[in-house]
């Protein structure tokens, strides 16, 4: 039995690796993608472009603006001298926000009245708008503390002391890059498996495979192993990049992570082979792969949290292996989580894997043309 499986596996590897284009598709994109996506996927604004519309000629407004000029995260673009100048700057995305200081800002402040500044934000990306608004507030808060210290006044009672666990500087790369491990591992295994049966069906060689002494189980294992091995190597490579190149802290144990990878690959291969054995043509196989991949990625919690989804969509996500694996990768990286915290994330993936592999095995024989 082992020899037969080994022979099929060898043949599968040959079909994947023989073609130069296929080889390239397996090797180059993951490297390029982890590099490009690793740098690009982020929610942190470090270059908030802004313009100033200052109607106040006093000292206080200049002091406040100096703080913005000095801030690393802000990038000064333009000064506006008239209210009409604001719209074109924001409309055409020249700036993300405009700071408007009214004519009696300094006068009010020196009288002990609150000085108001207005921030006009481009809401087309509301997430960026809110983050940059928070940055503005932080700078104003710094200015306020300084102002009260010099000009007197009661400080505010009940101070907020905020600390964040696991990612104290709230660097969103630490959140996204471990997620890319899951993303690319899924894409690669689907690529290898989703067309593998459909290709043989279309060429007619699958019927020949079925009349050999190999049992469907042996065919299943032989078809699964290459995806498994390739997925494993690529995942390991991406994890290495995450730790060594992007310096995301790895606080957990590799055993916990790799048991997760094992379960995740099992489910991904199961789904890939199931898609492949349902499809009669490769075009259908490709459609099936996309049809699974796109929702699986978007509804995994990779970029937008699952908790924000309505309840019925949350129920759908329970069928998505990436949902579980994402938590495992992030927890082992950032929280240093142990088996105890994660055990209820492993078994759903194994279950999905077993169910889909069984379905694939049954479809081998029952879907013949």
């Amino acid at each position: 039995m082992l020899r037969k499986i080994f022979a099929l596996m060898k043949k599968e590897f040959r079909t994947i690796l023989k073609n130069k284009k296929t080889r390239m598709v397996l090797i180059i994109p993951p490297i390029a993608q982890i590099l490009v996506f690793g740098y690009s996927a982020s929610f942190d604004l470090n270059n908030v472009s802004y313009a100033v519309y200052n109607e106040d000629s006093g000292l206080a407004s200049r002091q406040l603006l100096a703080r913005f000029r000095g801030a690393q995260a802000f990038h000064f673009v333009d000064t506006v001298n008239h209210g009409d100048g604001i719209a074109p700057l924001i409309n055409e995305k020249k700036v993300m926000l405009v700071l408007h200081i009214g004519p009696d800002f300094t006068r009010n402040l020196s009288k002990g009245l609150p000085g108001k500044i207005q921030v006009i934000l481009d809401g087309r990306n509301s997430n960026s708008a809110m983050i940059s608004l928070n940055y503005v507030r932080n700078i104003v808060m710094g200015f306020n503390t300084h102002w009260t210290a010099i000009h007197g006044g009661r400080h505010v009672p009940g101070q907020l002391v905020v600390s964040s666990w696991f990612n104290s500087s709230l660097d969103s790369h630490w959140f996204i890059i471990p997620g890319i491990v899951a993303l690319l591992a899924l894409v690669v295994t689907l690529e290898v498996t989703a067309l593998s049966v459909a290709k043989e069906r279309e060429a007619g060689t699958f019927d020949q495979l079925l009349v050999t002494p190999m049992t469907p189980l042996e065919i299943l294992i032989g078809k699964s192993l290459p995806g498994f091995i390739i997925g494993f190597i690529e995942a390991t490579f991406i994890i290495g990049m995450t730790i060594l190149w992007f310096h995301v802290p790895f606080r957990g144990s590799f055993l916990v992570l790799y048991v997760g990878i094992f379960a995740f690959l099992l489910s991904a291969i199961g789904i890939g082979l199931m898609i492949s054995s349902i499809s009669i043509t490769q075009q259908q196989g490709l459609m099936g792969a996309f049809l699974f991949l796109v929702p699986a990625v978007i509804l995994s919690g990779f970029a937008t949290p699952i908790e924000n989804m309505p309840q019925f969509v949350q129920y759908i996500t329970y069928l998505n292996p990436m949902r579980y694996f994402l938590i495992i990768v992030r927890s082992t990286f950032l929280e240093g989580a142990s088996f105890g915290l994660l055990w209820n994330l492993y078994w759903p993936m194994v279950l999905i894997g077993i169910a889909t592999l069984t379905a694939a095995g049954l479809l081998f024989r029952n879907r013949m043309y």
Binding site: S40, F43, G123, R124, S126, W147, V162, S164, F290
Partner: protein, 371 residues
């Protein structure tokens, strides 16, 4: 180009589409399904965030703060007895944050000291953590105003910040994610529909049969583009209708720019799919390339969810190679801001350049040659 020959080829291609229901399914069923799931599922605005509330000693001041959290729509406060219990809950991802008022909170407040309110957030999802921080600050500020108001004094803050969010006053991330989704879905559909059609002819040997006919390569390519273009535009129309009527995303721009840019983008996406097909020559390879170069770049590098302005400069240049980027920009602006011609024209020009570039390579690569 001969019209009659072209018509014959288009008819053959259309029949192939109609007889394989999966293509029609992709063009119409898929956008509806994806937009439904994602339109409801994708949002960056946290609501009802579970928050552990640890109040070590009850006092009117502490109660006022807790009730502030209870009334907020953003939070779902869960009372806990001790900080240890709350930390356990945070470890097990039962809560996303902790508010901790120590037993001497009220005393320190009355003595006029800086009474600390400890806020611990789970930083794993840093974007969410930041949002939570912002919401907590809002609740805290309301509480401060009420506290000082009760003591008969006005809260004195030197500079206050007022904000106006243009184009999206209710600050709903769905309003910009749904237009972006249309661009992503259309990228996929364009690539999926066409990435295999030329490779299929090569693989089945029908390309060789075509070569001995008087049909020119130009006509073959045109016959692949036309039916899929019509199919794709149908899907596009459905998506826009859903965005406006189902998800209530305001459409502030006018129809013409929407139609022009959609056609340009569809044309670019189909050309990209065809190019993959022409280069790969085998469906297996074409499928793999399509998965790698269409979905993920469109998802991550288009500005759909990750703002391009947050990326390093080198990567910002790289995003210019992703067609979806221009369309995301056009759609977000057309939907939320209206007709802003400078943005519309530059982005459309880029799309046109890309489409022509793809077309040129397709033409060059698809000679009547056998290998």
């Amino acid at each position: 180009m001969d019209v009659m020959r072209l018509r014959g080829l288009v008819r053959k291609e259309s029949r192939q589409i109609i007889r394989d229901p999966s293509s029609i399914g992709i063009a119409f069923f898929l956008p509806v399904l994806l937009l439904l799931i994602f339109g409801y599922g994708v949002s960056l605005d946290a609501r009802h965030v579970p928050l552990a509330m640890v109040v070590e000693k009850n006092s009117p001041q502490a109660m006022a703060l807790v009730s502030g959290f209870n009334q907020s729509d953003y939070f779902l406060p869960i009372p806990m007895r001790s900080i240890q219990e709350a930390e356990q809950a945070l470890m097990h991802r039962k809560v996303d944050g902790i508010i901790w008022l120590r037993h001497n909170f009220a005393r320190q407040l009355l003595m006029g000291g800086k009474a600390p309110i400890d806020v611990i957030v789970d930083g794993v999802d840093s974007n969410k953590a930041r949002l939570i921080e912002g919401y907590v600050t809002g609740v805290w500020f309301n509480w401060l105003e009420r506290m000082t108001g009760e003591q008969g004094q006005r809260l004195h803050v030197p500079v206050t910040v007022e904000h106006r969010v243009w184009f999206n006053a209710e600050v709903s991330s769905r309003n910009y994610l749904v237009p972006g989704l249309i661009a992503i879905i259309m990228t996929l559909i364009g690539a999926m529909l066409t990435s295999m059609v030329v490779a299929r002819e090569w693989e089945r040997g029908t390309m060789e049969a075509l070569m001995v006919t008087p049909v020119s390569m130009k006509e073959v390519i045109a016959s692949k583009i036309i039916p899929y273009f019509i199919l794709g535009m149908g899907g596009m129309l459905l998506s826009v209708l859903m965005a406006v009527f189902l998800f209530q995303v305001p459409l502030r721009g006018s129809m013409w720019p929407l139609i022009v840019s959609s056609s340009l983008f569809m044309f670019t996406a189909i050309n990209m799919g065809l190019l993959i097909s022409v280069v790969a020559k085998s469906q297996f390879v074409a499928g793999q390339i399509a998965i790698v170069i269409t979905f993920l770049p469109a998802f991550i590098l288009s500005g759909f969810v990750f703002d391009i302005r947050t990326m390093p400069v080198v990567i910002q240049w790289l995003t210019h190679l992703v067609a979806a980027r221009y369309f995301v920009d056009i759609l977000q602006t057309l939907f939320l801001a209206g007709d802003i011609w400078p943005l519309f024209l530059t982005n459309s020009a880029w799309l046109a350049v890309m489409a022509l570039f793809f077309l040129m390579i397709i033409k060059k690569k698809s000679r009547k040659l056998l290998e």
